[in-house]
Symmetry: C2
Subunit: 92 residues, 2 copies
DNA sequence: TATATATTTAGGCAAATGTCTAAATACTTT
DNA sequence: AAAGTATTTAGACATTTGCCTAAATATATA
């Protein structure tokens, strides 16, 4: 879960996630949305892949990236749980 | 939201959050749960406070820390929204 | 085969992060 | 007022992060 939080702790990477939410894209298309270099985007994509937030599939000379949203489940569960205990304490 | 994700991207800080879920604690009590120095814990608490995850209240010579879970709401909303690929409309 | 296109890898650099010890600040008690 | 307790601030250090350019790899096309 640490890799996931770290992955989400960068605005560029969150923007990439928001892009991929609309449709799958290859690395070049993703890079075109930003003013930083392609190698830097490639690095961000690597971190997102390590955190299992995205999946990459090679298609010819392109590499298509798509979102894997299941990885968020555990995280949301943790956050809700952490929030819930506190509520319980004040509610009861 | 960046400060929040960054705050959550460290295991010690997540443990602090889990501690505070059970009950409010002062800085010394929190530090006693870890093997790292008090100044380091103080720094972690500062980051959590900057991210609005905790609130600190001075009580005599102690400083009591408590969780502020409302800050998670926006984050969970973002994650859920991003996970929902079918509804691509961005609402504010 | 040679050239163009897509993407990553390598290496370097400045800034941010997480840790420490020592010192400073604030409050309490004697 | 002096001493003790709680916590933070300051400064240093190694590691990580995010960015860059240049080079390498892989595929497509003339």
């Amino acid at each position: 879960m640490n890799l996931l939080f770290k992955a989400l702790g960068d605005p560029t990477r969150r923007e990439i996630i928001e892009l991929l939410r609309k449709r799958d894209m290859n690395a070049g298309e993703i890079a075109d949305h930003f003013s930083i270099s392609k190698p830097s985007i490639s690095h961000h994509l690597d971190l997102l892949r390590q955190a299992n937030v995205v999946i990459s599939i090679k298609e010819g000379q392109f590499i298509t990236y798509s979102l894997n949203t299941t990885v968020f489940d555990e995280m949301v569960k943790w956050v809700i749980e952490v929030s819930d205990k506190k509520n319980k304490k004040t509610k009861k």
